[in-house]
Subunit: 155 residues, 5 copies
């Protein structure tokens, strides 16, 4: 059975776990889930590293990024760390980061979080079990957190 890691943070104002667990629970074949919560996004790379040490095949890392320039810098550092973990393990980490300045209010922010988490949880399953389906979507302008843009319109 494939093992999926879910890493999240106490900093985030949105609880991604129910969304991700909802998608993963409907997977066929079934997947095992291991969860790891840390304070903030900069703690996610080592959390993912440890999830891979527990034999996860893939990890979904969920975090929220504040509005200040320093927060952007932190997200950059976290993402560099996530790259490093992926390459040392040769395994995917899907990054569900939502920036607080992506939305005008809490409701819109929650909607972005939900959409991004759900679609990336679906991507987790495609990467594990259905790479042909992902390949069929190449170049089709898929978006997580908002509506798909679709392929270029050349007509």
């Amino acid at each position: 059975m494939k093992k999926v890691g879910l890493a999240d943070t106490t900093f985030s104002r949105f609880d991604y776990a129910p969304v991700v667990l909802g998608v993963l629970s409907e997977s066929n074949p079934e997947v095992e889930i291991v969860r790891y919560t840390v304070p903030g996004i900069k703690d996610l790379p080592v959390a993912c590293k440890r999830l891979f040490q527990e034999k996860c095949d893939i990890v979904i890392a969920c975090g929220m990024v504040g509005k200040m320039p320093i927060d952007k810098q932190c997200s950059h550092e976290a993402s560099i760390g996530l790259q490093s973990v992926q390459l040392s393990e040769a395994k995917h980490i899907l990054e569900v980061f939502v920036h607080m300045d992506e939305a005008k209010n809490d409701k819109e922010l929650a909607s972005i979080c939900e959409d991004r988490a759900r679609k990336h949880a679906e991507n987790v399953l495609m990467l594990l079990f259905d790479q042909k389906k992902l390949q069929g979507r190449a170049g089709t302008g898929r978006r997580q957190g908002k509506e798909d843009e679709g392929p270029l319109r050349l007509g």
Copy 2:
């Protein structure tokens, strides 16, 4: 017994050690503490590396960041280094960095330093001994250095 590293700097205008040591001294189970002081934040990553070589299970790295653009660059370099150490050790470093431009005056700055150090020292203990408690806080908008923001308000 778990061993906690405390790395700090002579550059900082706030002495984080009493705050951190205060929280850690009340830990149950008891923890052993190893301290390492360096000149500035860019010296912290190798200090942490050496603390892990002395068998620390986790490190709390406390520093202060100046107000100039070059200081931001230094904090970025320090943070990239801290990511690298964490991933090579697969162990957490909680970063207590306070930027001098976060506050209007020395008093406010001290208050931010104290709050961030205290809460991250508590996070150290939860990461070591009580991951279930951290998980219960996922998505609840916790902040270190200021008041919690709480979960998104959707009502």
Copy 3:
């Protein structure tokens, strides 16, 4: 027979595969192609790593970059990851990244994508089979995605 990896994304609004496969299919000597599709550009480095694990000799990584500052940051993180993979494998990854703000409309964007993908697919073949030809082009101001600028005009 040489093996070429093609990594692409579902985020992209342009489907690079037909262009790349077209060029590679005309290669003499013949090349084997392995394809790997991922959600976005930040997933490309680990996709390339895995393509090298499948014995690819070189990889062409095709992605599209959005218009927002955060998208630029993502492309930077992806590129750092691609550097890291190349150096650990000592093998080339040609990066076909097109930024959505390079063009005024969808038609121009498609034309940039096509040109960049085609020329870099040609570069893949030169790197594999004809390094002398590349050397003959050194310092001649070649461009992918637009017209060549040519050598400096000193007359």
Copy 4:
């Protein structure tokens, strides 16, 4: 006997070596010094790597940074390299970088260079022989290149 590396550049308009050698020559216990001069700051990381290969216990890396944005970028790349060397060796490199835009004129620039080099040479000795003294200075607002700021004033 401890061995100290001194790396410097031909790009710098200030000759740091006499200042550093002056401080180190007064060390008790005595230290051995190995020197390595390179063209510019981006050549310093590998110079430091090679100094550690010659069994240095610590290195002081002295460079000057130009005034243009590209110079800032170069200093960032050099600093990332210096982080990487330190972590692979688990040994300190004290970075004495002076930016040409820190001063209004050559005289002020020389004074910053002298002060920063001297105080970091003193830090080298404390890191090697007197970590307790450094610890006593934690949180006291020490500065290299200008006057100490001192601890936060809370009165």
Copy 5:
């Protein structure tokens, strides 16, 4: 006999090879030269890695950087890669990067390219054969691509 790698690009509008080869051909002792041409600056790090695999003792990496912000980002990624190669090999790569916005016209740009390439080729030889000469130049404000600035004027 020492082996020098020369890596260059087809993107560059200036052909650095004749300048570099001219300087190296006059070296006493004689050096062997290995050349590797790639499409652009982001392909240089792995080219250098491969030159070291062919037993080069040092590499000179010549590239040109476009005028757009994305070009600056690419040069940063290339430079980070070059740092990484140098540190894994503990060998120098002298970076001859000329930015297209350094000059007002093609003629001035060619002159910067020629000067930077020639002086760094001379640095290659000093690093290989005459480190004492480099040390004698420490702190003397040497520049590649323009006139030396000389040491600080304190009179």
